[in-house]
């Protein structure tokens, strides 16, 4: 983990309330896709944890949905410096992907799949990506994934774009060696049930510190208590214990 200041390079809307921010700074502590950063915002007490979408050179890309006070404030920023903690969380393990991994992202669970797809493709894997949204005007990053060379399927719940249904509907028709996913918990549960291979999923919880000190985001797993921010946010399918 590292605390440092990042310069805002750009901050643009991808959809009505999803924004992409590019930041320049010391990215040396970001070691794996699926990690997150924790951002201090003026006037708000706790930092805001946001997943890493990509790191290229000294540029960090994050994609976030403006839903609360903090993310709405972020969406209005055009320039300046941000106090950021980097290198948080475990991230995805790429070594177990096999030849044909499938990556499933739902809504703002899509961004962490981007760097993961890029890295897996660089390793010569045949990467399939399923991006799930509620409706057409919420869709983002389809072309960016295609540009990486991934085989992309988009699903929308209302059928207004791509395949009608959930990411799991597309998953059922696919042949894959391993899965990686990030999205809302009901989606993770559905992927867990639908999947026929092993895989990894990234969880989200309200955090205090984001670096393992406060025990605010603990959860129970088959292998004991874990902190989403420290031993997670990525868990292996085999260790997940659903709470209800």
């Amino acid at each position: 983990m590292k605390q440092s200041y990042f310069e805002i390079i750009s901050n643009t809307a991808l959809t009505e309330n999803v924004f992409k921010m590019e930041l320049r700074g010391d990215v040396s502590h970001i070691t794996a896709p699926g990690q997150f950063v924790n951002i201090k915002l003026e006037g708000l007490y706790l930092r805001r944890p946001i997943s890493v979408c990509d790191v290229q050179g000294d540029t960090l890309t994050i994609i976030y949905k403006a839903v609360g006070k903090g993310t709405r404030l972020m969406s209005q920023m055009k320039e300046g410096k941000l106090d950021v903690l980097t290198g948080l969380g475990n991230g995805y393990d790429l070594t177990v992907a096999g030849e044909k991994p499938v990556l499933l992202g739902g809504g703002v669970g899509v961004p962490p799949m981007y760097m993961l797809a890029r890295k897996l493709i660089a390793e010569g894997k045949q990467v399939r990506v399923i991006l799930g949204f509620n409706t057409k005007n919420e869709v983002f990053y389809e072309n960016e994934f295609r540009a990486l060379g991934a085989d992309v399927t988009v699903t929308t719940v209302d059928g207004s774009y791509g395949m009608k249904g959930f990411v799991t509907d597309a998953m059922k028709e696919m042949d894959y060696t391993y899965f990686y996913t990030c999205g809302p918990e009901p989606m993770l549960k559905a992927v867990y049930k639908t999947s026929v291979t092993s895989g990894q999923m990234s969880f989200e919880k309200r955090m205090g510190c984001g670096f393992g000190a406060c025990m605010g985001c603990s959860c129970k797993t088959i292998t004991g208590y874990k902190r989403i921010c420290k031993e997670g946010p990525v868990m292996r399918k085999e260790e997940i214990l659903w709470e209800d």
Binding site: A213, G216, S218
Partner: protein, 303 residues
């Protein structure tokens, strides 16, 4: 002896800054970030007789200038703390450490304190009779002078090291509780634990925290903490450790003027993990600014 030195219950501290229990784990997360030997000491994660997972999540809610937590004393239990956590702590911290203890019965408190008292690195026992986040324990001992005294006496009977009793602000008369603990043999008093608070999500109309209520901390509660430290320090002869919303070197000085011998820093660690180191480095500047030669001379110095 340096300008920042203070003496807490017979043990010399190189400075009065102490990360508060529950915000600093067992030290090693922070030792990855900076050399934690710069701290006066730290109070490690509240330890109970048996292992505890704590409360369901969400356990955290944000507030203006603060936060609410309802972690509920998650810890591996005293046996594992002694066998697994303390050896790891020793690798990154070479000073006496403050052992924070909670319990659900008087014998619980006595058992856990007795175990930790035997550990060489433990300098003080901080007995938490004020956790607002567990039912049938913690705070219920700290809201009644008789119960607080009973815990204090039971712990004193089985321990040799200084016992500091950590009090709750969620009471009508904190002075009577502090005095009862002093009369029962407490070597020091620390205060304040968090204030009971609650937030509601407007969209779902449900409490944000799964446990409904939790402990409110952060800079918002600082004035309440200063007031209570002042009241207690004027009523007891034993040293007082002040805490509650401390987040700057100026806050440390203010707390000491109110009567604190040492000062704990809690929630601020979760926002800026370097805050305690930064405060220690900034203290000489603030002392110079206000004409303070040594910190020990200003304890209780409010006019």
């Amino acid at each position: 002896m340096g300008r920042l030195n203070v003496n807490l219950c017979g043990i010399e501290l190189s400075n009065p800054v102490i990360p508060a229990s529950g915000t600093f784990g067992y030290g090693y997360e922070y030792a990855e970030l900076y050399d934690i030997n710069c701290l006066g000491t730290f109070s490690f994660k509240g330890t109970t007789k048996d292992p505890r997972f704590g409360n369901p999540t969400p356990r955290i809610a944000e507030c203006s200038s603060g936060m609410i937590n309802a972690v509920g004393l998650q810890n591996p239990g005293v046996e594992k703390v002694v066998s697994e956590e303390l050896p790891k702590l020793k690798m990154c911290f070479n000073k006496p450490v403050m052992a924070n203890v909670s319990g659900f019965s008087v014998p619980d408190y006595a058992y856990t304190c007795e175990m930790l008292d035997k550990e060489e690195q433990v300098g003080w026992l901080e007995v938490n009779v004020s956790c607002p986040n567990v039912h049938g324990g913690g705070m219920s001992f700290g809201t009644d002078p008789k119960a607080a005294a009973e815990v204090t006496a039971a712990v004193k009977k089985v321990t040799t090291k200084p016992v500091i009793v950590k009090l709750s602000p969620n009471v009508t008369d904190i002075v009577s509780i502090a005095k009862a603990c002093e009369d029962a043999g407490a070597d020091g008093i620390s205060l304040i634990n968090t204030m009971l608070g609650m937030r509601i999500d407007l969209r779902t109309r449900k409490p944000i925290i799964a446990n409904k209520m939790g402990g409110f901390s952060g800079s918002a509660i600082f004035p309440v903490a200063v007031r209570m430290v002042y009241q207690v320090a004027n009523a007891v002869k034993v040293p007082v450790v002040g805490m509650g919303g401390v987040s700057s070197a100026e806050d440390v000085v203010e707390m000491m003027l109110a009567g604190a011998t040492a000062v704990e820093v809690g929630a601020a660690n979760l926002v800026n993990p370097f805050i305690c180191r930064d405060i220690i480095e900034d203290l000489p500047r603030v002392m110079d600014q206000y004409g303070i030669n040594t910190l020990s001379e200003i304890i209780g110095g409010v006019k």
